[in-house]
Symmetry: C5
């Protein structure tokens, strides 16, 4: 008893500071009761089963984490995972709650970007009647929950399942624009290759695209596992009613992974095409060199022959000899061009 | 009660508009009862279990969707999936019905075509005694159902399983012509490569073929999953009687995926052959360049030697020196050609 | 009753025509009873459980199919599959019988052959006391059954399992010569590559081999599935006694698939070797070109220098200048050859 | 009885020698009781179930192994595995204990290093109330256990699970620096490739990186299997309480394998880029050769023409003929450069 | 009865001949009873359950096989498999015994060797109290069993499990030297590639190594399946006591397959390196050609210019003109070399 009192007193003192970072929303029977909840009262509210709490934490510091752990009694490992901020999406089951780590796509992204640069981690703790979301900068998915909560508080059910669905749905749908951007760029590269054989297509952007697909897959694949886990395991918040909604998000993730695989295959083809193009171009360069060399060397040979110093060279005395020699050069050039045309080297 | 009356009145008003888009066929004891059914009466007919309803909806607008949902009580997510029109083939189970999204092959197709350009989505809702098909332009599969329904209404059983089988069968068989077209083109490319070594085989059409195979696989693979799911799960419409028919469609899909994989492997070989051909050609170009250079440079060297200005060069005073020099050039050329023939460079 | 009478009368009329295509063998207690069975009596014989019927049908026409269906009451889909003749090997379970589609290797085969050109379909219907085999040209596997039936009728048990085993065994063993032929050709290609570096190894036969392996795998892989299915599922004809024989055939198929995979890997290595060889050859061609050019151009330069028209060029007046110049050319050539030898270009 | 006495006497004699290699820690009710335990007393202590023994063995010799086997009654195969020191990470279940072989990353490493050079084997025997660790040189993971044991003996529970967790956690976390080093080097290679097209990127370091990833994967993949096994199987030391901690280590291993796979894919892209770069460079070299040859040969041809010895060559008598010829050479060079610029060869 | 008498009489007559090929060892209560057993008494001994028989057959002929089948009552298929001698390692379960086909590594081996050249088949029949080993030339594994049997007959238990373990252990360990040889050769190739860039690394030995790895994998992979099968299935000879020993052999096989996969990956990298090296070398050859051509052609052009026959060429009359021209040639060469150095072509 004494310990709780002390704790609550401390929490009250902190309220001023913490309320910047922690926002607490309470919902009872479909009515958004209040946002002006003191952080220290959370553990009391949690014991009132008919109420739903949504606690959103923005960029928590050590003090905030301490309070959170005290109020919710989270497992130390879950806290540690949420603090580390470079988790792959995953679900961990703890006796009193579910810890879910998600990654929201942020973009824009460059070829050399790392996974942590293009995505933002959102950690979620889900209990029977609460949802705690932790993030480190403003997040679209969190704003989406806020928006829907304020617009239709009557739709929020007494389980946190609906809130979690909004979060997952927004995060998954957020990957599609990134996918579409890649889609468009691949189309551009493809039309550059197949369209006109003139332009040299650079391999660098293709490899950049390939790496972005790798990064996308690195987050989307474990996200699929997370949803698969949520659907398979008995969860307190997965009711018969909202199961279809979770299936829907799962379908979207499957579509994403499908598209990523297809695009990887297409990029493989594009790279083969570029290689083949480079080889063809080399062939053409060599043919050009051969044609030019042959023509010029033949003419030079003729000039060389008439530059010999033999005493007896009848042509040299021919008044038109010079012009005949020039004509021979031109004719040999024409004949060679004609020949190379026939063997399709020109 | 009051709500239903209002709903039915609204539906009656809409009948004129909706009947353009919605066609309702009723079958009772193997007799096609009527096509002139008011849309608003659907929910009444559904309660008569011994009747089979087939509702076909062509390019529905918002109003149509509202009526459909009211009459059939579909899940909002199923409605949403059917409206979005870019689903991968899938099956979703809902308490009162099964939602199946399919893709019919339409063709013709180009290398840069997207999946949505070469296929048409057909969405299906299957219940105990009804089948609702939704499509956005005239579909061969739907016409096939219509044709068989009108020709042999007595064959239509009281479950929608037979109708769904016609739909699946027609859609799956529709992929075979696309497959055959690709088959033929691959044969052409192959005979171009292995037949005569002269012609340069372009990589572009090969890559186009590869991409079309990718697109085919992108629809056929989930189609296989759909059929696998239908066969595995207990469905109200999958009777012991028509199970063999579904197995048959499943076999066809397996043959399709088999062929796609084989063709991908063959195309891989074709691309290797083209690469090797390009390399061989480069080798030949370089050999030609070497042979020509050697011959011409040797002749030029001879000419150069006799173009030197030394005072004492006995050959220069030889009356036949000039002709002997020319003969040397010719002989050296012949000797070189003979030599290059021996080392198989010519 | 009336219907059966009519059917039998029709069948009797057809006997003369059908017996060309249908041969019916009956075995009772290990004695081959008779081959002179009227087609119309089949359904009567089937009801006598202690008899084993083997009905072999060669290139059936529509009429034959009708009779078969009437006598055996086969499922329409099984009939359809057997008529279509381009099935992948498969097993379909029907309530009254098992339908098995097999492919016998026929060969010889060319690189551009299709699967239907190198294999022959044999369709089998297996019931409790009958085996129906359908084929379209003379088949070794069928002849093998006939031979063993006639040689040792006493060995034929009362279940069709032993007959089916002979069929499967002969078909599977028929793939080994094709495999061995490929084996030999790969050995030839390998020794051509690794043996002497002189000869140019063509990629075309390698790709032909690769395609034939693909075709083999396309039939052998589903054959393995067929045997796996037969061994896994409870079949009326798979007794504890002949199970080992089916396991044996299964082992042979596994060995086939193993060898196919190994050969594919070896061919992959061969293709890499050919590519590397082509590249090496290009290197050598370029080195040759460089060496020849350097030698000839150096000699030409010397000739060019002494072809200059300067008034004051002391060497020109040297009586032995000409010979010294020629010596310089030879010496420079020797020096260059010596140099290129040292850097291992020659 | 007699045998035990003899054994204990022998052990007492050995204590002086063995205590260099064997350290025995005993913990009772959260108190580190003593490190000054005679080796021969181990089997007595083991029978006191409420005590936890941690026996750490450094570079054991034959005598040590004999004593260990006598005191703990380990299975001969486990002993043999622990002595051989080139095990892949694995778990073996024996009736009285669990044998776990682990590999700690030591680094630094070179491209040609073997697995045994970059990792150090740590073998663990886990029983109900003891943990035996065997290693051959000073190990960070063992030091970590020692440190935590001494700092907070009260946290050590009565099962060896917590000690094993510290070991696994330290070992797994030890792979991350190696991973990060590879990460950094890949980033360097990537920026070298995509940054400036000038520098030639060598393939050797890329292949070295690839091999190091292979080595990492060779240890990390079986480590994942070990953890998976520990989590799946009922172990005496895996309590409901520390299960989450083992899950956490498992997550870290999964992240490692994820990163290894991603890096392998990225390196594949890098190698393609290097290949493409080499090909492009060859193209450029050939273009340069062609341009230079064409310009010089054209000028030479002009010189050759005016070096002909025809009697009647009007230009030769032109007082400015020489300068005009030189001008022609320059102009032709300029024209050719202009032309090659237009076709983008320069 | 009559049949058995006849059989035994025949066997007695054969003993003289057969004992060359068949050796029979009997073990009772840990004592090696006798090796002088007549072949015809085997079936009697088998009925004495407390005795363990080990029958080793060396290169059996038709007569031997007949006797073996009579004494042991083996299944005809097992006999057939053992006679054919080109089995992949496998286990077949028969009602009265287990048939195991194994392959012992023999080496040495060449690149074009087949699997049958580098391995030797050993077939094993295992029953409740007997082990029959069949081989066709002297085998290390068989000798190992003999050695241990004779050294410690008291260790041989009454089940054939221990004997089979010795056989499996020796065979599996026999693959490690082959593995180590490959390991060493790969190291050599690697150091040749990465060490000095001078030497040309030939692809042929690399492909030979790759093929040997393929051959190794072709035997080791089914060996792993055999052990997995033996461990999974209830076998009469797999007691709780020797299970750990079988697990140990299984671990060794897993390590073998691991190493094979790793080495295949490393060889893949090596082949990429060789390809890249070849391409780099080509680049260097082309650069050399370009540099040499440019220098020589420039000098030739200067010579050509002063070889022109213009009347008015002031330089020609310059007494030092000739030397100045030579100087120009040298200076241009130096300038070009300097230039190519700067662009890193030299």
């Amino acid at each position: 008893m004494h310990r709780r009192c002390r704790r609550r007193a401390a929490a009250r003192r902190l309220t001023g500071v913490l309320n910047n970072m922690i926002s607490v929303d309470v919902c009872q029977n479909g009515n958004s009761v209040s946002r002006e909840v003191e952080v220290g009262r959370i553990s009391d509210l949690l014991r009132q089963r008919h109420k739903l709490l949504w606690v959103d934490v923005d960029a928590p510091d050590d003090e905030t984490w301490r309070v959170l752990q005290e109020e919710f009694d989270f497992h130390p490992l879950a806290i540690e995972d949420a603090r580390k901020q470079n988790q792959r999406p995953k679900v961990d089951e703890y006796p009193n709650c579910l810890f879910i780590s998600l990654r929201e796509w942020t973009g824009p992204q460059h070829a050399t970007d790392d996974l942590t640069d293009v995505t933002r981690e959102i950690d979620v703790f889900v209990g029977k009647n609460y949802l705690v979301t932790v993030h480190h900068s403003s997040s679209k998915a969190i704003e989406e929950i806020r928006k829907r909560w304020e617009a239709h508080p009557e739709r929020i059910e007494a389980t946190p399942g609906a809130l979690l669905h909004i979060l997952l749905d927004t995060i998954v749908d957020g990957y599609f624009p990134a996918m579409d951007a890649i889609d468009g760029e691949i189309d551009e590269v493809e039309s550059a290759i197949y369209g006109n054989g003139r332009e040299v297509v650079d391999l660098a952007p293709v490899l950049g695209l390939k790496k972005r697909l790798l990064l996308l897959r690195q987050t989307v694949a474990p996200l699929r596992d997370v949803l698969n886990h949520l659907l398979r395991v008995d969860n307190p918040f997965l009711t018969a009613h909202n199961r279809a909604y979770y299936m829907d998000v799962f379908d979207h993730v499957l579509r994403l992974t499908d598209q990523i695989d297809i695009h990887r295959d297409i990029l493989g083809g594009v790279m083969d095409a570029i290689m083949a193009q480079t080889n063809n171009r080399l062939n053409n360069v060599m043919k050009t060199l051969t044609v030019i060399s042959t023509i010029l060397m033949t003419a030079s040979l003729i000039a060389g022959i008439y530059g010999m110093n033999f005493k007896n060279m009848p042509e040299l005395n021919d008044p038109n000899g010079y012009y005949k020699a020039l004509l021979m050069m031109v004719l040999s050039a024409v004949a060679l061009i004609f020949f190379f045309r026939r063997v399709r080297w020109l």
